[in-house]
Amino acid sequence: MHFAVLTVVAVFITCGVYLLLDRTLLRVIIGLGLLSNGVNLALLASGGLGAGAAPILGHGSAAIVDPLPQALILTAIVIGFGVTALMLTLAFASYQSQLSDDLEDLHGRLDDE
């Protein structure tokens, strides 16, 4: 199982980073989305990908998977969601005032000359 999951992690992060290095607003944001998906999966893998039941007690005494990474991922997903919302807002507002989605147009001034 770990090989399949690690492949997914690798592909998500590879595609995410590649898009992150683009100059288009949307592709950067999508890149970050993929990246955080990949990272969340990595967190899951860090708890081990053992055979086990979901960490809900009281349904028999079978071994359960490590619940802690799941809790961490949940927190990370929520935080990621909040940040993504803000990022979209910024992208939107930035576009509205600069009328470009090309980040190389948005490089800003080095100084005031």
């Binding site: 969340n40 708890g47 961490l72 005032s97």
Partner: protein, 496 residues
Amino acid sequence: MMNNLCVLPVVIPMAAGVLLILTHARPVVSRAIAISANILSLGVALALVETVRADGIQLLAFGNWPAPFGIVFTVDMLSALMVAVTMVVSTATLLFASVSLDDRLEKNFFYPLFQFLLMGVNGAFLTGDLFNLFVWFEVLLVSSYGLMALGSQGYQLQETFKYLVVNALSSALFLIGIALVYGATGTLNMADLVFKFPALAESGMAGVIAVIFLVVFGIKGALFPLYVWLPRAYYGPPTVISGLFGGLLTKVGVYALFRTVTLFFAPSSSFVLPLLSFVAGATMLLGVLGALSQWDFKRILSYHIVSQIGYMIMGLAIYTPLALAGGIFYIIHHILVKTSLFLVAGAVEKRYGTTNLRALGGAADGSPLLATLFMFAGLALAGAPPLSGFVAKFMLLRSGLEAANHVIVAISIVVSFLTLYSMMKIYRYAFWREEAETAIVVPGEPVRTFAIASLVTLSLVLGLGGALLLPYVEIAAAQLLDPAAWGTAVLEARVR
């Protein structure tokens, strides 16, 4: 010692933030709430400092779950000092903001964002849990995004977007780091890690994890070569917000470096300290050269943030009791002084409508008090005696020479010189010459001056009265250099 006092520096800003959402449309009420909350937190922070001095490390196991299972706040002297100085500068900044910010910005949630930022910063200083540190980082970051974009000017929005993306990348790295740590050790508690982490040294995993966290905190702390985002990002927002960021935000990254390097990275990987030494030198030098290349008050100050961070890391890299104490002294000094410099820039901008040195002039005639305050703060930044920067720099120089780290000492002297030059360049163009014609008289000047003066006075007090602070930073350094004692204290604390 279990102590609920530990959580108050987080709870008070949060409660204030919640209240301030409700009162956002009424600036007068908001100011009162925000400032009283800050003063309350300041009191708590000072109480914490004294408690730690008297009784040692203070702990709070949340939910009464013992370490390493639950989350613990571990308040040693470094944490307590950081929270205290945070509250000092934020109170001054708040005071300044209350008479300088545009009414529009005040009503658009400046105060709640400000309080939530403080909540995140304080949480990051206090926590003893790696993942919890991530959460506090996110709290302070998301608040900083809000503050940085406050005003919705085009330049601001685009720079905030970039700042956000850079930090999102850094957060992803942080999570990868956490995944590796948890994967290898099965724990997140820093005290627990003190004992479990060294076992990873043999396989090389300790070094890998160290590199990842150094980069994560290096981005936040604006270290070479990761600071590229900073100067532009800090130029965008209203100056008073830049001031708070410039003083405070990068120091959270520096704090995290001090914490994690002393707890696990330096003991387990021999390359960490030499690497930090190199990074410190490069950060100082490139930062100050950046400052020399600029002609804008705020931008020059932004580059100096970078440059000064090199000194703090220099203290960490030398890694002797005196060096760490000097580094911590430097952090405290720099937070006070850099904030006050930005506030001076803000006051100048308020009066002349610009921070471009070429368009400014004559502020020494226009407001002599401000010129005096700038002179003091600028000299303190350059490490001129007898201000706080001198004491910190003296400690670093002395420890650097004692450790025979000649290169970094030489660089630090050269950078001090260039910093002095750069500060005097500002003085020469903004404060001397004929007064710029754009000068207008704006209300609130006395309050602004008071806010700056209080910080500058503190710098003077820490310089002439360095003996007052020295015992505290020495305790902090001693605690940092004895991670085993720290870890044992945390792990063996009993819950109720």
